[in-house]
């Protein structure tokens, strides 16, 4: 077994990808993505549906052949050394991919055997996982009859059964209630603490917020990359809160102005993201003028940017030209 402490994994970078492209017929699903994922961290992959998150993850773990680009995962060249890589990474698919008609324990036994874990080791390991993921009373229940949260936990248990150094999770909590999600993330941080690098894709802001580092993907391109505070601070001064008696009217006024990227109503106030060119004073003045000339009254103040602002700023960017164009 390749325990996380094996010498090869002590490198500080778990994944390095350069110029990664994937084309499905005419569709460019992943377009010139560069990634550097540090080891032993939870690395988030944020993006709307269809932004290329799954495709990127599948290329990184050697399930899809990239159309162009170079990938190095755990010091191995992918796709060339994908077979070697497979025993060192865990992969949890977006759709539940275990066997519905096998019990919890049978699923674990099957994956253990397929991962080449010896019978004796597998038995103790499975018992340990059943306890850690609280399956003791349910080990003979068929996987197909488990509820969403339990299924995801079983999928996670199966994905880590061979103690992978790197774990790919493709939208692991998209069909799970908030309670189970919190619980699931606790398990992820436990794994990261134990030295596992985790790459997790999500479209949920609160999950993205919890990652050590974050990459934002939009229509196949990497549009932002950094720690959540770094990403947020880059927007300092561009987020404004407007308090007004007539939020709908003010919303209409602001929506038409150049230099305003987005307006979102939150209760009776409006949250505005100003364009890149503006600094806080400019932005505030621009908006106040616009509101006044429309005959409305409002209180405008600068607020701290959050991850949602980061996401909007990153994905509302001006038109781009594809780099991987054939």
């Amino acid at each position: 077994m390749n325990a996380p402490s094996s010498p090869g994994s002590r490198a500080d970078t778990a994944i390095r990808a350069r110029g990664l492209c994937k084309r499905f017929g005419k569709l460019l699903a992943v377009d010139d993505v560069d990634l550097t994922v540090p080891a032993r961290q939870v690395y988030g992959f944020l993006g709307p549906n269809g932004s290329g998150k799954s495709t990127t993850i599948r290329m990184l773990c050697g399930l899809l052949l990239p159309s162009a680009g170079e990938i190095e995962v755990l010091g191995l060249e992918v796709p060339k050394q994908a077979e070697v890589l497979r025993s060192r990474v865990g992969y949890m698919t977006q759709k539940f991919s275990l066997f519905d008609d096998l019990s919890v324990r049978e699923n674990l036994e099957f994956i253990a055997a397929v991962q080449g874990i010896s019978r004796v080791v597998a038995k103790t390991r499975i018992d340990e996982l059943l306890v850690r993921y609280r399956f003791e009373g349910r080990q003979h229940q068929l996987a197909g009859t488990l509820s969403g949260g339990w299924r995801q936990r079983l999928a996670l248990a199966c994905a880590v059964i061979h103690r992978p150094e790197l774990l790919f999770l493709d939208e692991p909590t998209s069909a799970v209630d908030p309670e189970s999600r919190r619980d699931f993330w606790e398990q992820l941080f436990m794994l990261a603490d134990a030295g596992t690098t985790i790459m997790v894709s999500t479209h949920l802001m609160d999950e993205a917020e919890r990652c050590h580092r974050l990459a934002i993907l939009d229509r196949g391109r990497l549009v932002a990359d950094g720690t959540p505070p770094e990403l947020a601070s880059a927007l300092a001064g561009r987020t404004l809160l407007i308090e007004t008696d007539a939020p709908r009217r003010v919303h209409e006024v602001l929506a038409g102005i150049a230099g305003v990227l987005s307006v979102v109503q939150v209760g009776n106030s409006l949250r505005v993201l100003a364009g890149e060119a503006a600094d806080s004073a400019q932005a505030q003045q621009l908006i106040e003028t616009a509101i006044a000339s429309a005959g409305q009254r409002a209180q405008v103040s600068v607020v701290a940017p959050n991850l949602e602002d980061v996401f909007v700023a990153a994905t509302r960017n001006e038109a781009r030209r594809p780099t991987c164009a054939a």
Binding site: L64, F99, L102, V114
Partner: protein, 369 residues
């Protein structure tokens, strides 16, 4: 090749099968139903067709002729009437399939050597027509059968034993059951494995399997192993029922029968796997199974004699594993031949398996695209 991984796939298949009541039922249900259907219902040896008799001569010789005809058992008398016209009406109404007419001048015709009797036939049923041919050949002293009867050229009358020529044992269950082993194995084995891999794709299991160190050969062979056992179980069911219901003999060695069946099983499983790598859905896999199954039934010599087929159909048939199996199993079970004497068919089946399995393993790529 890791035995642990191979065995893991095999146990998983067996566990899944155990919980799949429908498939489990089919394993035994298909052979039982087919055996009964082919053994009883689909009987090319026609018997007991309803017949009407109009004996207008009423002499001892005419009664003897009618009795001879009835003695063949292919017709069963349901009505005795006065005139041929009444028989024709009954045929039209579908009350009888065959009418036997002995004219009033039977004795005179017999003396003159003219046709002595007429067989009226419901020509809309080809099986009945064949029966008429049989009846028309019942020998009559000093007479030839009616040339107008829809039969082939009349055989020379007299001492020729028509009865032995139409041996009732011929083309009965004894002939059907050995080939039926092959038909059932072809149907179930190709189908089971045909859907085996497609199902993993449809349910999303494949993405997980591909992401593990499992190799293509381990996956393919592991999936096929349980079905070899299942196929041999089916063979046992058919042999036992065939013996019990139809007294089908096994004249060669039982071991040879199982070896022959084993060869066909792996050939069909390999073919099923190939289908599996090609089909996109379980439904497509079923369609492809039928695409192979129908020609197998029609061309293999199971239903229709191989020698009578056009050359191109024979070439096609040589590619089908069932053709070789039918020759093999009939040889072993009915003629008591050994496998060594039938080595050509053994080599053909083994070769088919090797080619199909290799193509299937090569075609299955451990990539999602």
């Amino acid at each position: 090749m890791s035995w642990r991984r191979l065995w893991a796939i095999t146990t998983k298949e067996l566990r899944q099968l155990r919980r799949d009541r429908v498939s489990l039922g089919m394993i035994v249900g298909i052979p039982v139903i087919q055996l009964v259907l082919f053994g009883y219902a689909i009987n090319t040896n026609v018997r007991g067709i309803a017949a009407g008799i109009a004996d207008q001569a009423r002499t001892s010789a005419s009664r003897a002729l009618v009795m001879d005809m009835l003695a063949t058992d292919v017709v069963a008398p349901v009505a005795r009437v006065e005139t041929p016209q009444q028989l024709m009406v009954m045929i039209r109404r579908g009350e009888i399939g065959v009418g036997i007419v002995v004219p009033p001048d039977f004795e005179q015709r017999r003396h003159d050597g003219r046709p002595v009797a007429q067989v009226l036939v419901d020509g809309s049923d080809t099986a009945v027509q064949a029966v008429a041919a049989q009846l028309a050949q019942v020998p009559v002293d000093g007479a030839v059968p009616d040339p107008r009867a829809p039969a082939r050229s009349t055989p020379p009358e007299g001492a020729i034993s028509v009865v032995s020529f139409y041996n009732p044992e011929r083309r009965s269950a004894v002939n059907i059951v050995p080939g039926l082993i092959g038909v059932i194995l072809t149907m179930t084995m190709v189908m089971f494995t045909g859907i085996a891999i497609v199902r993993e794709h449809e349910r999303g299991n494949m993405e997980l399997l591909i992401a593990t160190p499992l190799t293509s050969a381990e996956l393919m062979i592991g999936k096929v192993l349980p079905y070899i056992a299942i196929g041999l179980l089916q063979v046992s069911v058919i042999l036992a029922l065939g013996r019990w219901l139809f007294a089908v003999p096994v004249r060669g060695s039982l071991f040879d029968v199982y070896v022959a069946a084993g060869l066909l099983i792996v050939a069909n499983l390999a073919l099923g796997l190939l289908i599996s790598t090609r089909a996109r859905s379980q439904f497509q896999a079923m369609q492809m199974t039928m695409f192979v199954f129908l020609p197998s039934i029609l061309l293999s010599g199971f239903l229709f004699p191989f020698a009578g087929m056009p050359r191109i159909a024979q070439w096609l048939a040589e590619v089908l594993p069932l053709t070789h199996f039918v020759r093999l199993i009939r040889g072993v079970m009915l003629r008591g031949a050994g496998l060594a004497e039938l080595w050509v068919e053994v080599v053909a089946l083994a070769g088919f398996t090797f080619v199909m399995m290799s193509v299937a393993i090569l075609r299955f790529r451990k990539w999602l695209d």
